[in-house]
């Protein structure tokens, strides 16, 4: 089961020195956060989709420092739980800049979000719609539709979203209940190869919205195009402007007064975080070098299981390459970071670097074996900020 991910052997002198210094000063495992990368990606995405308001999907990396970065850039926030609204409240982000996008909620969850100041919520069925009867004078709902997305790494339409054909009846029911459905949303899935699914979804949703608006005076004028903007896991280079060009064109055909929003998570934060982990021990088993790291699939590399991601790796050492396996620190045999890759000979204390590790990494880690979390280091201030 060979691992096809990019593995870089060696590093330029200054890069090598930086990783060694950080590991020396702060210990490993570390997650190194470079705020300037989020800024670059946020600006690039806004430039690529100038008509779209961005709501950062907090779930991708719910770290205070990241929230502060997005806040300073003027971005909004997409939350899915009371824990996430609490995080924003703690950082004094106004609720008005936040939308709640989990399609299924407890009443308490709705009330917490309303108290925080959220007035935009997502639903995808009539049962969820009815939960808003008591709050109808306060909220505007977005109805999530699903389009199956076989090309995406993670198909987000399996679990949530109604069929387009169900939309008119749900909107009609909302009208009877006095609840305003102000628009539609869709999620094409994450890590899309191209934007064709976005374009198709925009066209289908907008066509239906225009049709319903012609029949109904409670207008729908919000279109939430979700996320799906890719991270550069295969190191081929993602040009976000090129990726977004077809989306931009499709959005250009919509009425100018519509509010177009997106929920980017992965694209904004993936490249901003780099993992530094150390080799703790080694073994040769059946002729293959095994290296045991201090971070793994139950920790920062959890996204390799839950998110089906495969992060580009780098070792600083150079030399003849051997078949190698990188394993995580827990007792479980599923805790393997890279199955069969070619690496120079490593010894205890050598560093293994993981790139593109901002999204759905620390967010989904566990406390299995009571191992400590990787510390979260802000590169600009050289401070631990977790």
């Amino acid at each position: 089961m060979a691992d096809k991910r990019p593995v870089k052997i060696g590093a330029p002198e200054d890069e090598h020195q930086l990783y060694q210094d950080l590991a020396q000063e702060f210990g490993t495992p570390l997650l190194v956060y470079d705020e300037s990368v989020v800024e670059q990606h946020y600006r690039a995405l806004c430039d690529a989709l100038p008509a779209v308001r961005m709501y950062y999907a907090v779930k991708a990396l719910p770290q205070e420092q990241v929230i502060r970065t997005i806040d300073s850039l003027g971005g909004g926030f997409d939350v899915a739980s009371g824990g996430e609204t609490d995080l924003l409240l703690k950082l004094k982000v106004f609720g008005r800049r936040t939308i709640h996008t989990h399609p299924v909620k407890k009443d308490e969850e709705i009330r917490t979000a309303l108290r925080y100041g959220v007035t935009t919520f997502v639903i995808d069925n009539v049962y969820e719609l009815e939960k808003f009867v008591s709050y109808r004078s306060r909220v505007g709902l977005i109805l999530r539709v699903s389009f199956r997305s076989p090309g995406a790494i993670v198909d987000l339409s399996r679990k949530f979203g109604c069929n387009l054909s169900e939309v008119p009846s749900i909107v009609a029911r909302a009208g009877e209940l006095g609840i305003h459905i102000k628009g539609l949303s869709f999620h094409v899935g994450s890590q899309c190869a191209d934007a064709s699914k976005h374009v198709e979804s925009i066209e289908k949703c907008s066509e239906l919205m225009l049709q319903l608006n012609a029949e109904n005076d409670r207008l729908m004028n919000v279109l939430d195009i979700g996320g799906g903007f890719p991270a550069d896991y295969d190191r081929r280079g993602v040009v976000i402007d090129t990726f977004c060009a077809p989306i931009r064109e499709a959005l250009g055909k919509l009425p100018a007064e519509w509010d177009i929003i997106a929920e980017p998570g992965r694209y904004l934060v993936a490249a901003a975080v780099t993992s530094i982990t150390s080799v703790v021990g080694r073994s040769v088993r059946d002729g293959v070098n095994w290296y045991y790291l201090d971070d793994g699939a139950y920790g920062s590399y959890s996204g390799q299981i839950y998110d089906h991601a495969c992060y580009p790796l780098q070792v600083l050492k150079e030399g003849p390459l051997h078949r190698s396996i990188l394993a995580g620190p827990t007792c479980d045999s599923i805790d393997v970071v890279a199955e069969d890759i070619l690496l120079p000979e490593l010894t205890a204390g050598d560093l293994v670097i993981g790139h593109e590790m901002g999204a759905y990494t620390a967010a989904t880690r566990t406390r299995f074996n009571s191992l400590p979390d990787a510390r979260f280091l802000d590169l600009a201030s050289r401070r631990i900020v977790d």
Binding site: G95, R96, L114, R115, Y116, G117, T119, S137, V139, K182
Partner: protein, 283 residues
């Protein structure tokens, strides 16, 4: 320049310029902000919703206090639930009462209001007639063995720590603490935007009081037209007190007001037709 954006409704909202931020924190119970605005003076918000401003607080506090106290005519013991900014307390202390108990759930609101909104309480927190209790209003009325002539419920909105103060159970327990001829008044939202609140409160109060209704006052920063103030008593004469009688009682207290006068008092019980329709007494 930072803006405060109120977060009550999705499709409309009011924004205030924050000219100077005095205080912002999440207290034990809620998110509290106090800031200065050039037009409104000091503004206090809880959970993103305007609670009071120096410019228009007199309308709310005078109407919440003087209407029940002067309608009663011989109120000696007053109970305030909520009202941590001290505005109701200030107005209540102007009357010839013997005692006032105030029950506020969030001590931080009292502390911050004393420091940053001193004009609201104007020293009333030091009045010897006051018994200030930091407790949940529901817990207090449940265990209360005292009796009050007037109960004033100065709560936040039904979403948040004030939620329990809108329940039928609370109204029932509060009635236990109310003298037989007494009256309870409640903050009840802006019916133009919050019709359900008016309807629900009416239905709940009706279960426990012979006269369960509302009177009105327009408070500019609770935008949306009239605010409804709940009126609950078993003494149906209290809403009928004449302008002349009220004038006499006001004269005995010897106070001047900025919004309240006997004519406004009587007129405030006239409900616009849309409110009557919401509570099902439309004709």
């Amino acid at each position: 320049m930072k803006q405060f954006e109120e977060t009550l409704y999705d499709a409309v909202n009011q924004q205030f310029r924050i000219d100077k931020l005095y205080f912002e924190n999440k207290t034990e119970h809620q998110h509290l902000m106090i800031f200065h605005n050039a037009q409104l003076g000091r503004v206090m918000t809880l959970d993103g919703v305007v609670q009071t401003t120096e410019a228009d607080e007199f309308i709310y506090h005078e109407m919440m206090t003087h209407v029940p106290v002067l309608a009663h005519g011989n109120a000696k013991r007053v109970l305030i639930i909520g009202g941590g900014d001290g505005g109701i307390l200030r107005e209540a202390c102007r009357h010839n009462i013997d005692h006032v108990t105030q029950v506020e759930i969030d001590e931080a609101v009292v502390d911050m209001a004393k420091e940053y909104l001193p004009n609201h309480s104007a020293g009333a927190f030091d009045d010897p007639r006051l018994n200030l209790v930091i407790d949940d209003g529901m817990a207090f009325v449940k265990s209360c063995q005292e009796s009050f002539d007037v109960i004033i419920v100065d709560s936040t909105d039904p979403i948040g720590p004030g939620e329990v103060l809108f329940t039928e159970d609370f109204y029932a327990q509060a009635k236990r603490c109310l003298a037989p001829e007494g009256v309870m008044v409640t903050q009840n939202g802006v019916p133009f935007f919050q019709p359900d609140e008016l309807k629900n409160t009416h239905e709940r109060l009706r279960q426990h009081f012979t006269d369960a209704g509302f009177y009105c006052a327009p408070i500019p920063t609770y935008y949306g037209g009239f605010m409804s103030l709940g009126w609950a008593t078993d003494n149906c004469d209290l809403r009928q007190v004449s302008v002349d009688e009220l004038q006499g009682r006001l004269g005995q207290v010897g106070m001047t007001c900025r919004y309240y006068n006997p004519e406004i008092h009587v007129a405030s019980f006239a409900l616009p037709q849309y409110m009557r329709q919401i509570i099902g007494t439309g004709r």
